[in-house]
Amino acid sequence: MNFRRAFFLLPLVLFLVLAAYFWRGLSPDYDPQTLPSAMIDKPEPVFSLATLGNSGALTTDDMKGQVVLVNFFASWCVPCREEHATLMQFARDNAVPLYGIAYKDKPADAAKFLQSLGDPYKRVGLDESGRTGIDFGVYGVPETYAIDRQGRIRWRHVGPLDANAVAKELNPLLRELGAS
């Protein structure tokens, strides 16, 4: 095959490469909208939030020394209702502390939400301004973060947490981090 022939084949070859990329783009684990967290392996942001039930402030220090989960939710968020059952189940099955942060929510609304659907959280922080959310890199609710003993963010799940994600991703991770 001489050079000239190869030249005429070039468009076809380029197209096939493109088609391969398109194929990859169609696979279910490619989601152009889901962002990987930029905070992975970075220390948890320092924050101090008022809490529901007035049990004192919720701060970063409260979470040090153990593996914890932080779940951002809101009463106005529909997918949060979906994941709530999973969270309740998780809280029953695991000893890992699950902290909730009500993102851009009025305290009364958040309280009502938890009253009607159940409260899986050890404590609930109130982030009415959303600033703590920004510090975590939250761009929507619900989002769930796993934080290790040294206070570093190790994992983020965007969107409602389902049983599948808990089994396939979260539980193995917790075992790896040395949680009970």
Partner: protein, 662 residues
């Protein structure tokens, strides 16, 4: 009952499409007139069937038949009639029916006007278009069927997205599709030529009208889309390098390149395999655009509902259509006879430069749009490519092209005199420099690049006029001579002048956007603010009910030098069904600049956020687009292509007995 008729009609159309391709391609292979004629009849029948199906869908929408799933998902009884109608194609399934309708329309048109074409070429073109039709009809029937029923039928539907409830929806998609799908004709011509094994000047003559027609429609479609975004979105942006916008720009760039390279094939019988490749690529870009918009691979404001199953089907269509045609190209194109030679500096050279730059621009947009996907697929970081990338690459690429637009038509074929051409353009250059100097003085300290951009636009516009002046010998010959020349001057040349001038107008509008002024403030009723020499007075605010929305309606008065210039009535409309608020802007235009007003949120203390903009030359962006399309239409009306010369050429270069191809 009626919708089932439509459903049946589409299935029948699929069968007819099979017959269309089968008869046409086989008939061409065997050179049997009867088979080819049957293929042409089938093309006409296919159009009628799909038109019927489309009509039943429209009927379902207009009568608000919510037992039809598609209507239930996208319509509502409260919707005004115009949007009942245009809502038919405001969703994925309905728009696909529009797509195949237009495809069959073009197929029927080729069949209808194909009498003066060589029969085997005509048959092959219709055959290929039939194949494309088969693919898309299958797509509709298997994955995107709007003719399905919903049982039990809901009392009312889910309504149409409020942003789409605008006259723009009535016009923008149809014109866009007339453009996209029209590229299928050029594609079919290219494939037909490859099958036949020859590309010659006659082929270029047959192709150009179809390419030009779809280019005109695409130009208008894109201009309309841009204008629609401008007056809808509340801050006057008109191009966002959004993936779906890019998906329409790429075929436009390729199509523009194709028109220009077809000129070279026609006049000089050269650059043939490149023109054929370009015709294939133009439609391929249309198809890739369809894939990007409907498969969920990219995120966009405009993207239809995402469904990977559809994406797989479209990808399959892409593989067969594009992969097939490029394979055919790789196999047959090397056998095409090379044509006339020419010096690098010549009209052919200029057109080649045009193609090079347009192809580079299209490649840039392509790479930029798909880069996040590429990077992710090779395991790289997740990045986004936004407008800063495109502005920094696309714009510099276009600059040499804009400079060349004025020079190219002044060069002779085969061997041009660059220096002579530049000398003859002294007037254009002089005016451009004067404009730049004046603007620098007036806007001292302002954006430099915008001033240069306006100078460039002047160069292009004046260059087009200088070229026309020279051809018609204005100022050089007596008026009678000029008048005689003007009457005999070919329309395609007038078309070129108009279209190039339109380009200048658009570039001027784009460049001047840097001089825009804005004022964003809270205002109370009775207050005034000044902007760009105007005084804007907030007169009143009240509530108004529309057919399916409630609105906060404000009234403003625009004054200049104490005189009332306009009354502006922006609104904020709330659609209870979708729980969405949409701004309705108020624009006062004098076709040279726009005064743009949008109403924002209230502060609940009687104040309202008011966004006012003065946008100089922004109407030029779309007026230029209309000029370009008009120039294309004028060119299209040139009788030389339709009968007569083309027919004579055909006789001269008649196919040898037995045909020249396998």
């Amino acid at each position: 009952m009626i919708i089932e008729l439509g459903h049946f009609s589409i299935i029948l159309a699929l069968c007819v499409a099979v017959m269309q391709s089968g008869f046409s391609l086989e008939g061409a292979r065997r050179n049997e007139w009867n088979m080819m004629a049957a293929g042409r009849m089938a093309a006409l029948a296919q159009f009628v069937l799909i038109a019927l199906a489309f009509a039943t869908l429209v009927h379902a929408y207009v009568t608000s038949d919510f037992s039809v799933l598609n209507v239930a998902q996208n319509s509502h009884t409260d919707k005004p009639l115009l949007y009942q109608l245009s809502g038919v194609w405001g969703n994925h399934e309905g728009s696909m029916v529009l797509w195949v309708l237009i495809l069959s329309l073009y197929g029927a048109a080729v069949s209808w006007f194909g009498n003066s074409m060589p029969p085997r070429l005509c048959a092959r073109v219709i055959g290929v278009m039939g194949l494309i039709g088969i693919g898309f009809l299958l797509f509709i029937l298997l994955t995107s069927n709007p003719f399905l029923r919903l049982d039990p039928a809901p009392a009312n539907g889910e309504g149409l997205n409020p942003i789409l409830q605008d006259p723009g929806l009535a016009f923008h998609p149809p014109f866009l599709y007339l453009g996209y799908v029209g590229n299928a004709v050029s594609f079919a011509f290219a494939v037909a030529a490859l099958i036949e094994g020859r590309v010659d000047a006659a082929w270029a003559r047959w192709v150009r009208p179809w390419t030009l027609a779809s280019w005109c429609c695409l130009t208008l479609g894109i201009s309309m889309g841009s204008w629609w975004a401008y007056y809808t979105l509340g801050w006057g942006g008109w191009w966002f390098w959004d993936p779906v916008e890019n998906a329409s720009l790429m075929p436009w760039l390729a199509s523009t390149a194709l028109i220009h390279s077809a000129i070279v094939v026609e006049r000089r019988d050269t650059l043939k395999s490149w023109a054929v490749l370009l015709a294939i690529l133009t439609f391929s870009l249309s198809l890739v655009g369809t894939f990007l918009v409907r498969s969920g691979v990219l995120t966009s404001v405009h993207a239809f509902a995402l469904d990977p199953k559809r994406g797989v089907f479209i990808l399959l269509l892409l593989l067969i259509t594009i992969g097939g045609s490029l394979t055919l190209y790789a196999w047959r194109a090397p056998r095409l006879e090379p044509g006339g030679v020419f010096a690098p500096v010549s009209r052919e050279g200029a057109l080649l430069l045009n193609n090079l730059i347009l192809a580079s621009c299209a490649a840039t947009v392509f790479i930029g749009t798909l880069y996040p996907l590429f990077l992710d697929a090779v395991g790289g970081p997740k990045l986004s490519v936004g407008y800063p990338f495109f502005n920094r690459t696309f714009v510099p690429l276009m600059i040499p092209l804009l400079i060349a637009i004025a020079v190219g038509p002044m060069l002779a074929w085969k061997r041009g005199d660059l220096l002579g051409a530049l000398q003859r353009l002294w007037a254009a250059f002089a005016v451009a420099i004067v404009v730049i100097l004046i603007l620098f003085y007036v806007t001292s300290g302002g954006p430099v690049l915008a001033v240069l951009g306006l100078g460039l636009a002047t160069w292009v516009g004046m260059g087009a006029l200088v070229e026309l002046t020279e051809r018609l010998r204005i100022f050089r010959s007596p008026w009678r001579e000029t008048w005689r020349r003007a009457l005999n001057y070919p329309r395609s040349s007038y078309g070129m002048t108009i279209a190039h001038f339109g380009m200048a107008v658009t570039v001027a509008g784009l460049a001047a956007s840097a001089f825009e002024q804005e004022r964003i403030q809270m205002l109370h009723v009775g207050q005034e603010e000044t902007i760009a020499g105007y005084v804007l007075r907030f007169d009143s605010i009240g509530k108004r009910d529309g057919e399916n929305y409630t609105a906060d309606a404000a009234e403003f008065t625009l004054l200049k030098g104490g005189q009332v210039v306009a009354e502006l009535k922006p609104e904020r409309r709330f659609f209870p069904l979708q729980q969405q608020t949409v701004a309705k802007t108020a624009i006062h235009t004098n076709l040279v600049s726009d005064f743009y007003l949008a109403l924002g949120d209230p502060d609940n203390q009687g104040g309202w956020a008011v966004r006012a903009y003065w946008k100089p030359l922004v109407p030029f962006i779309w007026i230029g687009g209309v000029f370009m399309a008009f120039g294309g239409a004028v060119s299209l009306s040139d009788r030389r292509w339709r009968v007569g010369v083309a027919a004579r050429r055909m006789v001269k270069g008649a196919l040898p007995a037995g045909g020249g191809s396998a």
